[in-house]
């Protein structure tokens, strides 16, 4: 049987080209892989290789012909000894495969996309009462959370710079090397890119690494693995290969460490489908959410705060205490304005709420706890009650978490708003070193008070 040789495309965008030269002539025997012709476009010259074998029975497009359509037959290959009819086959290009987006599926896809933008919001679940508590620092809570999960599951291990012998740059891993040994508490060289890739590789096999970044500023060296390797592999593998991993460490400004060491990455990571992003405030948040993050079968970016490490809060003593990822907490109930914050800014918001209470304004303070997936429902329910929204974050304003929360409220609760949402945020500058300048650049309780006063 004879086969047609078609004009090939050099790229998905090529529609036609010039048949520059034939390297075989009629009667020549052709094997798979033989170069039979050259074609040219405005960008390049390429060789056409035979895929089928046989004898070049006919040349349908002479060399030098311009504007040959992709997929048009250019020659006929015949089997050895076969007669080929003298009629030229039709010159029109073979039909290209149908593209789904142009077919009947297009509307369906668009419908789903708009559904995804405005899903029905489930009513927020009330927080469970975990009973007895004790006072502990955020540092202790993080350490205990890791220890509990490591005792329960041999697949969980901790790696990072100074996590083992040094007991953690910020002493979060104090005592873990003694209890779990160097197989499971692993000091790495100062090579974030490499060790993050190694952890991701281990997670793809089903192990559950906790990667400690000394600070999230250094995770920028490894952000390719966090996003391209960890977050996308489940999707790119059609669901075959997940990446159960926790990336944790201090995020945001510390104190007087200037621009390269003081940055909030919440909005960077929250932008990425395939990641969960958690930002605890209190010891209970740290304990309950870190345990949930370690158990989660997905990559979780766990944004801690250095200044909070030493602060003490009440934390449930129940050994099963765990918090669901994706659920915000109403830290303080109120009726006049909703203040949404996360991480260290929850403390700033609570201080502002106290000042406002003295002025007769009742503020509801929401601690987001999780940035992605965002608990929009809890914020919406609150705004339906207060009709005013103020967001507070340490990071920069542009495309920040405050911008996203505000947009969610505009989409879901526009009619309940009595005023446009207001964002309180770190100034849109690299964080300066000088004590006075640094303080001027980071949100203070009175900034929140002023923002609320504009609305109420």
């Amino acid at each position: 049987m004879s086969t047609q040789v078609l004009m090939p495309a050099l790229s998905p965008t090529m529609t036609e080209g010039k048949l520059a030269r034939w390297l075989k002539k009629v009667g020549d025997t052709v094997s798979s892989g033989d170069v039979i012709a050259e074609i040219e476009t405005d960008k390049a010259t390429m060789e056409v290789e035979a895929v089928d074998e046989g004898v070049l029975a006919k040349i349908l497009v002479e060399e030098g012909t311009e504007g040959v359509a992709v997929n048009a037959p250019i020659a006929v290959l015949a089997a050895e000894g076969e007669e080929v009819s003298s009629e030229a086959p039709a010159q029109e290009a073979a039909a290209l495969p149908k593209v789904a987006a142009e077919g009947s599926g297009a509307k369906e896809i668009a419908d789903r996309a708009s559904e995804a933008k405005t899903p029905e919001l489930a009513r927020p679940e009330p927080e469970r009462d975990w009973g007895e508590t004790r006072t502990m620092t955020v540092r202790e809570a993080l350490r205990d959370a890791m220890a509990i999960e490591m005792r329960a599951d041999d697949d969980v291990f901790l790696m990072g710079e100074e996590v083992a012998q040094y007991q953690g740059a910020y002493k979060i891993s104090q005592g873990l090397l003694d209890e779990f040994g160097e197989r499971r508490v692993i000091d790495t060289p100062i090579t974030e890119h490499g060790f993050t890739g190694i952890a991701v590789g281990a997670a793809l096999t089903g192990l559950k690494p906790i990667v400690e970044f000394m600070t999230f500023n250094f995770a920028m060296q490894a952000i390719d693995h966090i996003i391209n390797s960890a977050a996308k592999t489940l999707y790119m593998s059609g669901g075959q290969m997940g990446c159960p991993i926790v990336f944790r460490g201090p995020n945001g400004a510390a104190s007087r460490v200037a621009a390269q060491h003081s940055q909030c990455y919440a909005s960077w990571y929250a932008h990425v489908p395939g990641l969960k992003v958690v930002a605890p405030y209190s010891s209970a948040d740290a304990m309950g959410l870190l345990r949930a993050a370690i158990r989660d079968p997905n990559p979780v970016v766990f944004l801690e705060n250095e200044i909070l490490y030493g602060q003490s809060f009440e934390c449930p003593v129940d050994p099963d205490f765990i918090l669901p990822i994706g659920q915000a907490k109403i830290e303080r109930a109120g009726t006049d304005v909703t203040i949404v914050a996360f991480s260290i800014m929850v403390g700033v918001a609570l201080k502002a709420a106290e000042v406002l209470a003295e002025q007769g304004i009742s503020a509801e303070v929401i601690n987001l706890r999780t940035i992605r997936p965002l608990d929009t429902a809890t914020v919406v329910e609150s705004v339906k009650k207060t009709s005013r929204l103020v967001t507070v974050e340490e990071g920069w304003p542009f495309a920040g978490i405050g911008a996203e929360v505000s947009m969610q409220i505009i989409e879901h609760a526009f009619d309940w708003l009595d005023a446009p949402p207001v964002r309180v945020h770190g100034l849109d500058v690299p964080l300066p070193y000088a004590a006075n300048l640094e303080k001027l650049a980071l949100p203070q309780p009175d900034w929140v008070v002023d923002a609320v006063r504009k609305l109420v």
């Binding site: 078609l6 004009m7 090939p8 495309a9 050099l10 790229s11 998905p12 798979s32 892989g33 960008k43 390049a44 390429m46 056409v48 290789e49 895929v51 992709v70 073979a94 290209l96 495969p97 789904a100 599926g105 369906e108 896809i109 789903r112 197989r183 692993i186 060289p189 090579t191 890119h193 490499g194 060790f195 993050t196 890739g197 190694i198 952890a199 991701v200 590789g201 281990a202 793809l204 096999t205 192990l207 390719d224 693995h225 391209n228 390797s229 489940l234 999707y235 790119m236 593998s237 059609g238 669901g239 075959q240 290969m241 997940g242 159960p244 489908p273 395939g274 989660d296 079968p297 997905n298």
Partner: protein, 344 residues
């Protein structure tokens, strides 16, 4: 570039597979298997190029034609459970490690029956069953992931090894050296394979690596390295066997530089102006890895009919895969929203 034939090593001084008096060889059965597996990759890739030309495969597409002996030879030294990861020039690796031609080709055409259900494409395919961990589109990323696969083997106390393939271009990436360092520190059972096909995209290895002895790149960390004629499947298997034995024994990582050559451009849209037609022709004519095995089989007295039977089997297999890939349905629009997160 080296003096002759695009720098292909004929018998490197450091190659364990030197063709001396103790010349390693293969049985007829092993040669037949190597021939079959290499031919499958060659024919599969030719068909892939054709389907790309017809607009049935989109995006970036990097063919493995010319390099078949590398992945087939290494695979012959591995056992079930050993883990493999590579870059985006990955079709050959997938076929060599046992993934089905149908599923690979259907992923190339973006169909629901592809290995990633049409969501990965040429550069992103995986198979848990065959321990194939991708298919990575970011140059060098697969190397630290490969060290992580080896970490997992060691953590779990198995004697399995991991093979992390990279090109000569990727071998200059910083994270490659970070991975060498950590793999050596922790004695991870990882075989780093540099497939030196002489060009990182359009830049020759001589223009991008200050040292041309890539097999020595692990020396500062005490990682043994071998330069191997990657156009000789027997030499490749021999070197891989040495590396595998070393890793399985818990001695740490091993580095293999395979001198090889890709006949096609870097990707489908590469006109390959950075090398001469004569250079490519000489490689195909004088060093083709499949032709070499075919000759060896004939020298061993294989029946012409037996060779023809292999050719026919592969031809049918590839034709079947191409047919499957063109007739399978595209993914359902609902696939857009699945596999973003594991629902816990």
């Amino acid at each position: 570039m080296a003096d002759t034939d695009a720098g292909i090593v004929q018998s490197g001084a450091n190659a364990p597979a030197n063709r001396g008096s103790n010349q390693p060889t293969m049985t007829q059965e092993e040669y037949s298997r190597a021939y079959r597996d290499m031919l499958l990759i060659r024919r599969f890739e030719e068909r892939t190029g054709q389907l790309y030309g017809m607009g049935l495969i989109g995006g970036f597409c990097h063919l493995y034609i010319g390099q078949e002996a590398v992945v087939v030879g290494v695979q012959m030294a591995l056992k079930q459970g050993d883990k493999i990861v590579t870059s985006y020039r990955d079709h050959g690796h997938m076929l060599a490690c046992g993934m089905e031609a149908r599923g690979v080709m259907a992923e190339l055409t973006g169909r629901a029956t592809g290995y990633s259900r049409g969501k990965g494409g040429s550069m992103h395919m995986f198979s848990k069953k065959e321990h194939f961990y991708g298919g990575h589109g970011i140059v060098g990323a697969q190397v630290s992931i490969g060290a992580g696969l080896a970490f997992s083997n060691k953590y779990r106390g198995t004697d399995e090894v991991a093979v992390a393939y990279m090109g000569d271009g990727a071998s200059n990436q910083g994270q490659v050296y970070e991975s060498f360092n950590m793999a050596a520190l922790q004695k991870l059972p990882c075989i780093f394979v540099i497939e030196n096909n002489q060009y990182g995209m359009g830049t020759s290895a001589a223009r991008s690596s200050a040292s041309q002895a890539l097999y020595k790149n692990g020396e500062p960390w005490g990682i043994p390295g071998r330069q191997v004629d990657g156009m000789d499947v027997v030499a490749v298997r021999e070197a891989a066997r040495e590396a595998v034995a070393y890793c399985r024994a818990g001695k740490g990582p091993f580095l293999l530089e395979m001198s090889t050559y890709r006949y096609r451009g870097h990707s489908m849209s590469d006109p390959a102006k950075y090398r001469t037609r004569d250079e490519v022709e000489a490689m195909r004519r004088d060093h083709d890895a499949i032709e070499r095995v075919r000759k060896a089989l004939i020298d061993l007295g294989i029946d012409e009919k037996a060779l023809k039977a292999i050719d026919d089997e592969i031809k049918a297999l590839v034709a079947d895969a191409a047919e499957f890939a063109q007739t399978s349905p595209e993914p359902d629009p609902s696939e857009l929203w699945t596999d973003i997160l594991v629902e816990s």
